[in-house]
């Protein structure tokens, strides 16, 4: 028997089937965790936020259009959730608690390249962690969730011109931070 589709699981979850929702969590937890990790900047907080994002998403299933793919929806919910958390915090930046990037290139020949990649990833995460929450959110939605300007505007509830100015200024800040790092 084929495993149930996301659609079936979402329909069951909507009717109050927590186990069906649990299966959706298993399918999307890694990508949701990565959204939270990019936005919160540390693993432990990202794990907690992922759990809370799923719990929040469950109570909002009524707003989810089951005809559309579940992955993009849950990632948008997670991004918004992290944005709200970051925006409600004091404007001090959380320290990056774990600095190690896990890189899956165990082959010896790739070791040098792997170190370089990890180094670069660390620099990018550092630079992202220094962005104001709304700038970080547009970077997340544009570069990692690949939403259009219009979709970002709709998801975040901000105007199109705000989307552009946040995004362009965020890129400027990131560019400067990464140049400093080099």
């Amino acid at each position: 028997m084929d495993p149930p589709s996301d659609y079936d699981l979402a329909v069951h979850a909507r009717r109050g089937d927590a186990e069906a929702f649990g299966e959706l969590v298993r399918r999307y937890q890694t990508s949701v965790f990565n959204v939270c990790y990019r936005m919160m900047g540390n693993r432990q907080e990202a794990e907690d936020m992922s759990q809370e994002a799923f719990i929040r998403a469950y109570s909002r299933l009524a707003t989810y259009d089951t005809e559309r793919p579940f992955g993009p929806w849950i990632r948008r919910v997670a991004a918004n959730f992290c944005l709200n958390r970051l925006a409600s915090k004091a404007p001090i930046n959380m320290p990056l608690m774990d600095e190690h990037e896990t890189v899956h290139t165990p082959h010896e020949r790739n070791l040098e390249l792997a170190t370089e990649t990890a180094e670069r990833a660390r620099a990018i995460r550092h630079a992202m962690a220094d962005l104001p929450p709304h700038y970080l959110a547009v970077i997340e939605l544009r570069h990692f969730q690949e939403l259009s300007y219009n979709e970002i505007s709709y998801t975040m509830g901000i105007s199109l011109s705000q989307v552009k100015s946040y995004l362009f200024r965020a890129r400027k800040l990131l560019g400067e931070a990464l140049k400093e790092h080099e």
Binding site: R26, Q51, F144
Partner: protein, 199 residues
């Protein structure tokens, strides 16, 4: 010939985001073909794009689904017994309305309260027997030839003194307002809570 102005940062960003309309994109392409400065700026921005897009995903070290499912289940259990459950709230509001209605009836019509207390007491048939007594009295009066007019005036209607008649109007008004308010609460509860942050 005038040197055209360099492309703005906004145009460069929109160029890479593929958000420029066909005409603007063609203009930008023309400029880029002729201008090394802007080509260099575009390359720099494009490098940032590829750095971001190349950021690796990290693995999640434990399965969080059991925790999520557990907290959803315990939340459901808590909600079943709490006022946030619409069914529970409906029950509470209805119960309050019934009690309120009974209290109002009792206030304006003390005899009704007697009936209720009799009905609830040992003589559960009280009101019914009272009716039977009354019927028996009427049939007796008729059988002994009392004039019909005298009989009508002797009927024991529930007495509402004038003092409580004005109280009755006030109380009915209050009850109507309470009814509207409580139904308003129920209707509001049925509307899904909307949150701008997640549309």
């Amino acid at each position: 010939m005038n040197e055209p102005a360099h492309l703005t940062d906004d145009v460069l960003n929109e160029y890479l985001d593929e958000a420029l309309s066909g005409e603007l994109r063609a203009t930008a392409d023309n400029h880029l073909r002729a201008c090394m400065t802007c080509t260099g700026r575009l390359a720099k921005l494009s490098e940032l794009f590829s750095m971001l897009n190349g950021l690796p995903e990290v693995p999640l070290e434990r399965d969080i689904s059991p925790h999520v499912v557990d907290s959803l289940k315990s939340r459901t259990r808590a909600e079943t017994a709490s006022l946030s459950n619409p069914a529970v709230r409906l029950g509470v509001v209805l119960a309050v309305e019934v009690v309120g209605a009974l209290a109002l009836i009792g206030l304006v019509w003390p005899e009704a309260l007697d009936w209720v207390s009799k009905a609830a007491g040992a003589n559960a048939m009280g009101p019914f027997t009272a009716l039977l007594d009354e019927a028996a009295r009427i049939s007796y009066s008729l059988s002994v030839g009392q004039p019909f007019e005298a009989l009508l005036s002797s009927l024991r209607a529930p007495s509402i003194p004038w003092a409580s008649a004005s109280a009755l109007v006030t109380l009915l008004g209050t009850a109507a307002v309470a009814w509207l308010v409580s139904n308003g609460i129920l209707l509001r509860a049925q509307r899904p809570t909307s949150d701008r942050s997640n549309r």
